[in-house]
Symmetry: C2
Subunit: 346 residues, 2 copies
């Protein structure tokens, strides 16, 4: 069993350590400790509101006491370049026989010094953002002969709960004995599932082809339901191309739309579009090729009470005629029911 | 003045030497000869139906007699890898003091041997598919403060006349004294205009940002109208992500839709969608952000007579209510008129 030490120095918090937090929620048996000297002595539960007794420690060396096998880079550096001190931590971890797990844009396994140290210590460096060359393929349109059903989350904006919603629904499918797979499309999703592709890091000609190849593998393994983690947003000025390529590589049988009721404007200061208009647009870009529908709404109710979240869900249900719920807070059952009903009907 | 020797060995023809042909049409004063031993002795006009007296020669050496300054790789290798014999040709050309112009996926300027030979001979290697690192930027949403009007071609499929239509309309704008710029987004368009970015070769997070950066430069230079070459198709399973990223990086004030009346199915064997539905979809993905319209239809009437082309144009005009014409055959005036009328009205 992998034992993960999650590096989140200076940033361990609900919003600033997304990858570490994803590991804590979805790989709770693997994370043995979190490194953040500013929060040392607390537990994950105390810092995040979830994560139970996973301890926060002050240094790598304190973390080594928990016998980790892997160091997870659980935060992204400000400015995008790898800070010198992180580099030293990574080297120290490898010299202490820890594998490195990284979703950084800086590809660690392209760094000669780091590769040399990994070799000397017989440890591995995993770069989730490094796309293997065999995924640089143009889509073939294989959805036409695929046996499995594919389900994709889409959203009204970036960073709105697409991965989390998908994972919660996927968990329900598994619990119900449905033969289901999950394909990650960003570093956290890939870390959790152990499979997938960083679609935002691939050359643009290959967006659809790379995810299609992942789905083809999963289909060949015999899964009945393939859940694909959504990325970006069709209505996000910066990343819409990634999203549409992912949508057309997946050609989903069904979609879940993710929204945050309290978010009125996106990163660009642009208003979040009308929800029914968004749903129609997402359906139309697939319907040009094949039938599909948005069958439920995943709500991100950060900052709301449970009661407020339910009120918002009710409003959205009345507005769209679709089931709506915060699956992270209340579980994925309602959305799973909607999917099963819809996919069973097809 | 650049004097181009266009390499099209074994492939010089209307359909198999796209980059060479683009140079012949749009840089007629620069192309001094075409190398294709299978067509040697003919003229471009005889092979393509255009291009006048540009001669086809049997070998590089015969081409050198025309005192070229640049060797243009005018075809793509089958299978994508650079054939050994082409490599020898490129080396021979550089040793004869020719610069190399390439739109290949294989980046020649990353090849140590070729770079060394270029250095020894004081010649340059231009790789249009190599995206400079400064274009790896996320879009900022600058369309909101842009002064210039942007015009983008979109299409019912790939390889349907988006670049050609745009260039014809751009030529009319220039002829009328309108202060207009043209930005290429594929190797041929970049070659012709001397500016632009290969959007299909950029990392997917940066599609919109890279083209926005090109437009920002052009806007800063004071152009009133910026024509952006379209790529792919919103309804093309493989490349739709590139197309949407390009659309959102451009955020066009107006679009021209390109169609080929005789084409009923795309590369994937999928039917070309209904034209009015296509127009609505293209408008909607921009209208989510800002007003825009498809204001005219560019027709690719390859294989049709002039008379048949006009009949098809009339049918499309009746069906869509928009002006339609084969601008390559009959000139860009009609579409230019439609653009000026629409952009003037805004």
């Amino acid at each position: 069993m992998r034992r993960i030490l999650a590096l989140a120095e200076g940033r361990f918090s609900p919003l600033k350590s997304k990858t570490a937090n994803g590991a804590i929620v979805y790989l709770p048996n693997e994370v043995v400790a979190v490194v953040d000297s500013t929060k040392a002595g607390k537990t994950a539960q105390e810092v995040l509101g979830y994560g139970g007794n996973i301890p926060v420690v002050a240094s790598l060396e304190e973390g080594f006491a928990f016998h980790p096998t892997d160091l997870l880079i659980g935060i992204a550096p400000t400015g995008g370049r790898l800070p010198e001190v992180w580099r030293e931590w990574i080297k120290t971890a490898m010299r202490n026989k820890l594998n490195i797990l990284s979703g950084l844009h800086t590809i660690l396994s392209d760094d000669e010094e780091l590769v040399q140290i990994a070799k000397e210590n017989n440890v591995t460096i995993t770069d989730w953002r490094k796309v293997p060359i065999e995924y640089e393929v143009v889509s073939k349109g294989n959805y036409r002969t695929r046996r499995a059903k594919t389900i994709l989350t889409v959203g009204a904006d970036c960073n709105i709960g697409k991965m989390t919603t998908m994972l919660e629904v996927y968990k329900v499918f598994r619990k119900r004995g449905l033969n289901s797979d999950f394909i990650g499309t960003g570093q956290t999703g890939i870390m959790i599932s152990g499979k997938g592709i960083a679609v935002d890091a691939i050359i643009s000609d290959y967006i659809a082809g790379s995810i299609e190849k992942c789905i083809d593998s999963s289909n060949a393994e015999g899964y009945d339901y393939i859940f694909v983690e959504g990325q970006g947003a069709l209505t996000h000025q910066g990343y819409s191309g990634v999203t549409l390529g992912l949508m057309h590589g997946t050609m989903p049988d069904a979609m879940i739309m993710c929204v945050q009721p309290t978010r009125t404007h996106d990163d660009y200061g642009l208003p979040i579009p009308d929800l029914n208009r968004l749903i129609r647009l997402h359906e139309e870009v697939i319907n040009i090729f094949r039938p599909t529908k948005v069958v439920g709404i995943g709500i991100n109710s950060v900052g709301l009470t449970d009661e407020q979240s339910k009120v918002e869900a009710k409003k959205i249900e009345d507005n769209t005629g679709l089931p709506a719920i915060d699956a992270f807070r209340f579980g994925g059952e309602k959305l799973a029911d909607a999917l099963i009903q819809y996919l069973g009907r097809k």
